[in-house]
């Protein structure tokens, strides 16, 4: 259990002098805040800003606090903010276990055991040595989630992670992802177009203009 809190304080993003968005919110442990808005409203830029790789052409103000500590001056790799993209983005040159191992802290103990247990937990026991290129879309999404969880983040960002799955799979994957994130007590921000995503997330919904 993580019990972290993610706060966005007076965050404003602008591009060439024109303001894109402003947001001020607090996401508690296990809560999922949904951010909705049309394309071009800056949803993805908001996630890039929090994760630490906003392109230098953007101007930003405000602060991002994890458990009260401002992380804005940290490099992306030191922020401990997990991110799920639209695509699972499993590294194609590593096996499933290689992908998971890459995410784990170097001093983590009994990596292999943690990996087998994790795979078992998401219904993919024995997938350790599989080539990620041979997985189905749903399987790859689940591995991507497990990889994120094994990296031990303090907060999670979801960038329309279900938009490329078909309806049936979408339902299942969404349930699994939300359950796991709630169970680990991670504060989460979800960016989506899909009303159903927002409803199932069950948290506060913010709409950008």
């Amino acid at each position: 259990m993580s019990n972290s809190v993610l706060d966005l304080k007076d965050v404003r993003l602008s591009l060439t002098g024109k303001q894109l968005l402003e947001i001020d919110c607090s996401v508690g442990p296990g809560e999922i805040l949904t951010v909705m808005g049309p394309s071009g409203s800056g949803k993805s830029s908001l996630l890039a800003y929090i994760a630490g790789f906003l392109a230098p052409v953007f101007e930003s103000s405000g602060s991002v606090l994890v458990n009260g500590v401002d992380i804005c001056s940290l490099a992306a790799e030191n922020r401990r903010i997990g991110l799920l993209f639209q695509d699972p983005l499993l590294f194609p040159h590593l096996s499933v276990a290689g992908n998971l191992r890459f995410a784990m802290l170097s001093n983590a103990k009994q990596k292999s055991q943690a990996i087998s247990e994790g795979l078992n937990d998401i219904g993919l026991a024995g997938f350790d040595d599989r080539d990620p290129g041979t997985l189905s879309g749903g399987q790859a999404s689940r591995i991507a989630l497990l990889r994120l969880l094994l990296s031990g983040p303090n907060a999670v960002l979801l960038d329309e992670p279900f938009s490329k799955l078909d309806t049936q799979l979408r339902e299942e994957t969404r349930t699994l992802v939300f359950d796991k994130l709630r169970a680990s007590g991670l504060p989460t921000i979800l960016v989506t177009h899909d009303q159903a995503d927002a409803e199932q997330a069950g948290g506060e919904i913010r709409t950008l203009l």
């Binding site: 392109a55 230098p56 490099a75 790799e77 993209f85 499993l90 590294f91 040159h93 890459f102 041979t134």
Partner: protein
């Protein structure tokens, strides 16, 4: 650290070349303390202009400098206009990269053995057509006006300009433009020439200028195919430079400066031609002809590329038959018997130059790759996009080799350094760098940025994601860049010859040295060894990723 790498890349390229060009001019004006001369004078220039046949040497260099790009580019453009999208085109696109790796010297030897009066071509037609009993008494190879030199350069530069054009084309969205023109009633070939060619030319202008400089100043191709009485300016400069009489150094220096001027004049003539053609094109565009001239353009365009391919294939065949030929009387199309004697005889002589060739090409290419990768990674991390000073990368291709190499030698002589292997490797690095950069930068910049982003959200440092994610994902382009760099290094003659002071021999320098006096059979053996080395490199670049990623189906898409 990374910044340092990108700055040193620029410095490594620009400093020796600009400084070398400047230093080369000192002995030309009489200043050369190592030979005990520290007074400025124009003596060397007076001597240079008294050299018999100088005007002709200069003229031949100028002619090949202007005609090579003119004819090659015309053929490439007509080909693209008439064949884009055809079956022939698919086939040729696959062949163009391997063709490019055919070293200049080997290609020139092959061509010489194909078209010489007693060459393969004349032997084949003699049997039925001409009834020649003896080789015709005409000067084809080494002809006085450098026509065979011009022919050899065109055969070599057409694939180069084709590859450069193919790389630039996609950003023009040619299919869409052609469709628009065709709906306006233009025939496809005319449409290409009217709506694609004017936008494509500016994108291939720099490579074209590199071709002008190369063609006006080449040494190895001119030694093999060029005229001998008198030879081209570049060849004469090299012979003055190599002369045991050290006083000829001053003449060589003045000659190399003259070479720079000649290459610049060739470029200037080109720029004037460019203006004229641009003007004509505007009239032609405005005239609105929709099909006039299409059939001529079509025939030349479709005919050119297969002809070039057949000449290259014929050259290869000429090398292969000569390398294994036993006794071979003139009119017969094939030798009366085959032998491996020529190979057995060369084996002991091959080993040392082969070792040097591999050592020099591997080390210069690896150094180049490290510098290029560090530069690209620093560019990526700074997030500022392409650096504007990158045109400096083309410097080694835009200034005649003999000029700045000569300057670098003068510099080392001032410093009292001896010619050695590291100097040769450094010289190769100058020429390998631009090609490694050109080949690797596209792949590096196009790699999906999300791979690194995912890695950092998982807590991986920049260093860790560089080594564990970017490098393995880019393995195939890395190996291709290495193969290209090594192919360039293997084909280099002048840097090895000059910076190694003739003491460091590679397959290429030895093969070119055989020009005077050795048998065709022996030369063919060396030329085949020279052209096989790059092929080995390209094969490895193709098969190593296939082997390593045999269980990683996703690695086929990311290439």
């Amino acid at each position: 650290m990374l910044r340092w790498a990108s700055h040193s890349l620029i410095f490594l390229l620009a400093a020796p070349i600009l400084l070398g060009t400047f230093i080369a001019s000192l002995p030309a004006f009489g200043y050369f303390p190592p030979l005990g001369s520290s007074d400025f004078s124009v003596e060397a220039w007076r001597k240079l202009f008294d050299v018999p046949g100088l005007t002709r040497s200069v003229l031949i260099s100028l002619i090949s400098g202007v005609l090579t790009p003119l004819i090659s580019l015309t053929l490439v453009f007509l080909y693209l206009a008439s064949a884009t999208g055809s079956k022939l085109d698919l086939w040729i696109r696959r062949l163009v990269s391997p063709l490019l790796s055919f070293p200049h010297a080997a290609a020139a030897f092959g061509l010489a053995f194909l078209i010489a009066p007693s060459g393969l071509f004349s032997r084949i037609i003699s049997s039925g057509l001409t009834g020649w009993e003896r080789p015709p008494d005409i000067l084809i190879v080494n002809d006085t006006w450098g026509l065979s030199l011009l022919f050899g350069l065109i055969v070599k530069e057409v694939p180069f300009l084709l590859l450069m054009s193919l790389a630039a084309l996609p950003q023009l969205q040619p299919r869409y433009r052609i469709e628009v023109a065709r709906t306006l009633g233009y025939r496809p070939t005319i449409a290409w020439l009217k709506v694609i060619a004017p936008s494509l030319y500016p994108l291939v202008r720099l490579p074209v200028i590199a071709v002008i400089v190369f063609a006006s100043a080449t040494v190895d191709v001119a030694l093999i195919l060029g005229p001998t009485l008198p030879p081209t300016l570049s060849v004469r400069v090299l012979s003055w430079f190599n002369d045991p009489d050290l006083n000829l150094r001053f003449l060589a220096a003045a000659g190399s400066l003259l070479q720079l001027v000649v290459s610049l004049i060739a470029v200037a003539i080109w720029l004037v031609l460019e203006k004229l053609v641009g003007l004509l094109w505007r009239f032609w565009l405005a005239a609105g002809n929709r099909n006039t001239g299409e059939s001529l353009a079509f025939v030349i365009g479709r005919g050119a590329m297969p002809t070039v391919l057949m000449v290259i294939a014929g050259s290869l065949l000429a090398l292969l038959t000569n390398a294994f030929a036993g006794p071979w009387r003139f009119p017969s199309a094939a030798p009366s018997s085959w032998t491996i004697q020529h190979w057995a005889n060369s084996l002991s002589d091959l080993s040392a130059p082969l070792f040097n060739t591999v050592l020099i090409s591997v080390s210069s290419t690896l150094l180049a790759l490290i510098l290029v990768a560090a530069t690209l990674e620093s560019e990526r991390q700074s997030g500022k996009g392409k650096s504007t000073v990158m045109w400096l990368l083309y410097l080694p291709l835009l200034i005649p080799q003999i000029v700045f190499l000569f300057g670098i030698i003068v510099l080392t002589e001032f410093a009292g350094w001896q010619a050695n292997l590291s100097l040769v490797i450094f010289g190769h690095l100058l020429f390998v760098l631009p090609y490694v950069f050109l080949s690797f930068s596209e792949a590096y910049r196009q790699l999906d940025p999300r791979w690194t982003q995912v890695a950092s959200t998982l807590g991986a440092s920049q260093l860790k994601s560089f080594w564990q994610i970017r490098i393995p994902l880019l393995l195939a382009p890395i190996l291709t860049a290495l193969a290209i760099g090594m192919a360039i290094s293997i084909s280099l003659f002048l840097p090895t010859q000059l910076l190694g002071a003739g003491r460091i021999t590679t397959i290429t320098t030895e093969a070119v040295a055989l020009t005077s006096g050795a048998s065709r059979n022996l030369i063919s053996v060396w030329a085949i060894v020279q052209l096989s080395l790059p092929i080995v490199g390209f094969m490895m670049a193709l098969f190593i990723p296939k082997f390593i990623w045999r269980n990683r189906s996703g690695m086929i898409d990311t290439r």
